[in-house]
């Protein structure tokens, strides 16, 4: 037995054995019976069941963490920015190159620099994305080998169950089988989270979490893994067990593949897509200065009629139209809100829609998201028939197509990020600057009729000139007194869409009226009367040229909150991704440290009970040797005594 113990001092999982000695071969003596003989009754395993259970559990935790650590080691490499050549620096260089181009739009070197930093950035995104994809594929491959290892383990445990049952567990003859099975169980637990149960016959049953039987008696069930979607299944049942396998190496692989790495990959994709979209938006389309300002002018009263509403009136809402529009609302039947009737015009009063009853709320929808809100703060709050309100709405700027896409936009995701073909073919296709009036779309004339008189001019009216203003403007011209032919009729100009009017002047006989900032309204005498009538009103909306430095705006995009629904810049987003990876690795490292310490402690406890101490065995050896020597001495003494007796009898 001591020999077995010494021989197995380095066998993993070997449980120290002790021979149970019992006396035998008693003889009758005068005073009673004396026990002379001894025999080995059984061989006992010095074994602590409680510690072994904990070790099995700990193996599972350690397996889980170690696998996660191995995988994260590769992932962390992708996000290692400390050397200063990672994605973050590449991103900084990319933004800088645009600003440099913005300062030197005609520089060839600056253009090439933009293309080269963009190519570097894209290739880093692709590379990093491919590493993550590779990690995920490798995880799936490892899952296959881990599952086949699990299948071998369960098959072997089942076989051992059979042998243990056949040998019988009591007399110690199956000790080595039990040791072996416990080692296999620890191996299995390292691979995945399991629960198990040993019955009185020494047969071990192993279950998956959730109760599915993995080993029952001498039979075991096979696990399978689908290498494309990474789903683990049991036997012929196609139900995925991925949500059940949450521990051990296999659990770690499932969690890493499906959740952690997937999440990093997804974030990297979102970052790449965000950059591609932001840069392409700026590079393909120049927006007028009116961009994103849905200017809604306060209402103006109709000519020739005093508005009777003595509360306050405001326009609001979010204009969704794509073209300038002048909305009008007129009261057709007077009275309080809820009783008075109204009509809406979407063309500044030229044509009117159906008659409706005003809502009691006082909020009247003009269309395209524009609301006119009447607040009941006056005395009468009455609407009189003929009251009219105008609202000028401007769309989110006019725009102009300026260049090809900078980044290829045919496929999304970090793995597909690349500079567009047109840009790669010729950096001249980069548009660093949209100069001057290129962005100017025109100044459409919107001649509308004032409420009341008909537009009497029967020639043609057009707008023209070069607009020199720098914000969207709505000009208006109205005939105030006399009426009649050009040169006699008087007019006023409004530069705020008709809210306030300038001084009265006599119309020039040329028929060309300057509205201000270079915008002109030209009346061409081609009709029969050519007369102007008091109350005739003409509106001209003008848009400034798109003074648009594409390169500067792209350079500034780094500070825009494009990510996380307007909460983070690209750099912030990436930095927090790196932080997330770092803290994931960190917490795994800490967990490993903790679990390793716990395992070592348990191992020491286990070895305290079951491990072999050579010193102890040597002492045992000496003890048994001494016993043997003494027994030999006894035998020799007995022999000597017999010799004496024999000599006496001779």
């Amino acid at each position: 037995m001591t020999g077995a113990n010494i021989g197995n001092v380095n066998t993993p999982g070997y449980t120290r054995q002790r021979a149970d000695l019992v006396t035998t071969g008693s003889v009758n003596v005068e005073s009673g019976r004396a026990d002379f003989g001894v025999r080995v009754d059984s061989i006992e395993r010095l074994y602590n069941r409680y510690l072994e259970t904990q070790l099995v559990d700990q193996a599972q935790k350690l397996g889980f963490d170690q696998t996660r650590q191995q995988i994260m080691g590769r992932v962390e490499g992708v996000f290692n920015e400390t050397g200063g050549s990672g994605l973050s620096d590449s991103l900084n260089q990319f933004w800088s190159s645009w600003e440099t181009l913005s300062s030197n739009p005609s520089s060839q070197v600056a253009r090439y620099a933009v293309v080269s930093t963009a190519s570097n950035l894209s290739s880093l995104f692709r590379e990093n994305s491919n590493v993550l994809i590779g990690v995920q594929q490798d995880i799936k491959d490892s899952m296959t080998s881990t599952v086949s290892e699990i299948n071998n383990l369960t098959a072997e445990i089942a076989k051992l169950n059979e042998q243990i049952l056949a040998t019988g567990a009591e007399d110690g003859s199956s000790n080595s089988l039990l040791d072996r099975r416990m080692e296999l169980l620890k191996g299995l637990s390292k691979d995945m989270n399991i629960s198990y149960y040993e019955n009185d016959n020494g047969v071990l049953s192993v279950f998956l979490s959730g109760g599915r039987l993995l080993v029952g008696g001498s039979s075991s069930a096979q696990l399978y893994v689908n290498s494309s979607d990474g789903n683990v299944t049991l036997g012929s049942d196609a139900t995925s067990l991925n949500s059940v396998i949450t521990g051990g190496r296999l659990g770690a692989m499932i969690a890493m593949d499906g959740t952690t790495v997937e999440d990093y990959s997804d974030r990297l994709d979102r970052l790449a897509d965000g950059i591609v979209t932001a840069v392409n938006d700026l590079h393909t389309t120049a927006w007028g200065a009116g961009y994103k300002d849905s200017v809604i002018d306060p209402p103006i009263p109709a000519e020739g009629h005093v508005n009777s509403f003595d509360g306050s009136v405001a326009s609001g809402g979010d204009f969704r139209g794509i073209e300038n529009a002048t909305y009008a609302m007129k009261i057709t039947t007077g009275g309080l809100f809820g009783a008075a009737k109204y009509q809406i015009s979407t063309d500044g009063g030229k044509t009117w829609g159906v008659e409706n009853t005003t809502p009691g709320s006082g909020i009247i929808s003009m269309g395209d998201g524009v609301d006119l809100t009447f607040t009941n703060s006056g005395v009468t709050n009455r609407l009189a028939a003929g009251d009219a309100y105008y609202v000028n709405a401007y769309p989110a700027g006019y725009h102009k197509d300026i260049g090809p896409v900078f980044f290829d936009d045919t496929a999304t995701g970090a793995r597909n990020m690349r500079v567009g073909d047109a840009i790669l073919a010729d950096p001249q296709n980069i548009v660093p600057f949209v100069s001057g009036n290129d962005g100017f779309i025109g100044n459409p004339i919107v001649p509308i009729l004032a409420e009341g008189p008909l537009n009497s001019y029967d020639g043609t009216v057009s707008s023209g000139g070069t607009f020199t203003g720098d914000v969207n403007m709505a000009y208006a011209m109205r005939i105030t007194t006399i009426g009649g032919a050009f040169g006699a009729a008087k007019y006023q100009i409004s530069t705020d869409g008709g809210k306030s009017w300038g001084v009265e002047s006599i119309t020039p006989s040329s028929g060309v009226i300057s509205m201000g900032d270079g915008v002109e309204l030209t009346f061409t005498n081609s009709g029969a009367t050519n007369l102007l009538t008091v109350g005739n009103t003409y509106y001209v909306n003008a848009y400034p040229p798109a003074n648009f430095s594409t390169a500067r705006l792209i350079g500034a995009a780094k500070d825009n909150l494009f990510m996380d629904g307007g909460a983070a810049t690209f750099n912030d987003f990436y930095a927090s991704l790196v932080g997330r990876v770092g803290s994931d690795v960190n917490s795994i490292d800490n967990s490993i440290e903790r679990n390793t310490a716990a395992t070592n402690q348990l191992m020491a406890r286990r070895d305290e009970a079951s491990g072999v101490s050579l010193d102890e065995e040597i002492i045992n050896l000496m003890k048994y040797q001494f016993g043997y020597n003494t027994a030999g001495r006894l035998a020799k003494s007995a022999n000597d005594m017999f010799d004496v007796l024999m000599a006496l009898g001779r």
Binding site: E76, T82, S103, N104, G436, V581, V585, E608, I618
Partner: protein, 303 residues
């Protein structure tokens, strides 16, 4: 308390300790060789995020400073060009004065000299810097004053550079229409008046009064332009000093960012070296213990 020490326990403990120490040593030597506290994101996740943010901020500031230097250069050259135009106009006024009471040939000489001035002023007004017209607003690829009779072809837009986060920008140009007022005829007053004067001087039938009137009109236009030139030269100086102020502020910020960056990522070498030595000592001690492991055996004593 453990009362029975199995041989596996003794060896495993030593092996575990050695591996722990080697890990600590390797991290310390990573830090020593890179001189950085953070060598992978997991060393200090928050610190790593901070370092990246600070590096981005540093790169942005660096770029803003470059932008400012570009803008300053543009403004300084603009100021020089405006001064040159101013001097040329003053000179032209003096030359024009000589035409009064001059002979026919004298008038021609003056006219030729004024033509040269006109061309020179135009060439300054059409000056380019790094391939872009300086005085045509945002239409930097359009010649602002094609000739002395045409209107200003540029626009009134500012050229902008980014000088800070939240899209703060600074303008760095003076547009041609700000210094050369347009005439009612669609051209530029001062060029038209100069052309008129030259035409009068070259016209043999011009009287002394004609010449006088033309000189007076040219001088009036020239003076208007000079006032505007002075205003805009002052404006460029103010813009340059604003940019310089921003630049100084950015220099200060950059310094702060670099200090913070150094604090976040630079390793404390002397402290590290101490730690490294200490760990090396402990490791050596452990090796010694490991080497003597067998000596503590009963077997050794017996043999």
């Amino acid at each position: 308390m453990i009362t029975r020490i199995a041989d596996n326990t003794r060896f495993d403990t030593i092996a575990g300790n050695i591996s722990n120490l080697q890990d600590v040593m390797s991290r310390a030597s990573d830090q020593l060789s890179s001189l950085k506290k953070i060598n992978r994101p997991s060393d200090d996740p928050e610190g790593a995020t901070m370092v990246l943010n600070l590096r981005s901020a540093g790169a942005s500031i660096e770029q803003y400073k470059e932008n400012i230097i570009g803008g300053e250069t543009w403004l300084k050259v603009t100021g020089l060009n405006l001064s040159s135009i101013n001097n040329l106009l003053l000179l032209a006024e003096g030359v024009a004065q000589n035409a009064q009471g001059a002979s026919a040939s004298g008038r021609t000489t003056v006219a030729n000299s004024l033509q040269d001035s006109s061309n020179q002023i135009l060439s300054f007004a059409n000056a380019k810097l790094s391939g872009r017209y300086m005085f045509s607003g945002s239409k930097t690829d359009t010649k602002p004053f094609p000739d002395s009779t045409s209107a200003y072809e540029g626009d009134s837009q500012s050229l902008l550079v980014n000088i800070g986060q939240d899209s703060s920008t600074a303008a760095y140009n003076i547009t041609g229409d700000a210094v050369f007022p347009a005439s009612t005829g669609g051209g530029v007053t001062v060029f038209e008046k100069l052309d008129d004067l030259i035409a009068v001087l070259r016209d043999p039938v011009s009287t002394g009064a004609d010449v006088y009137d033309a000189i007076v009109e040219f001088k009036a236009a020239s003076q208007d332009v000079q006032t505007l030139l002075q205003d805009n030269i002052t404006k460029t100086t103010a813009m340059v000093s604003n940019l310089e102020f921003t630049n100084n502020h950015l220099t200060y910020l950059k310094d702060r960012v670099e200090k913070m960056l150094s604090k976040s990522e630079d390793a404390d070498v002397s402290k590290l070296a101490m730690e490294f030595q200490m760990q090396a000592l402990v490791l050596n001690a452990t090796y010694t213990v490991a080497g003597k492991m067998n000596e503590g055996s009963l077997l050794k004593f017996l043999s």
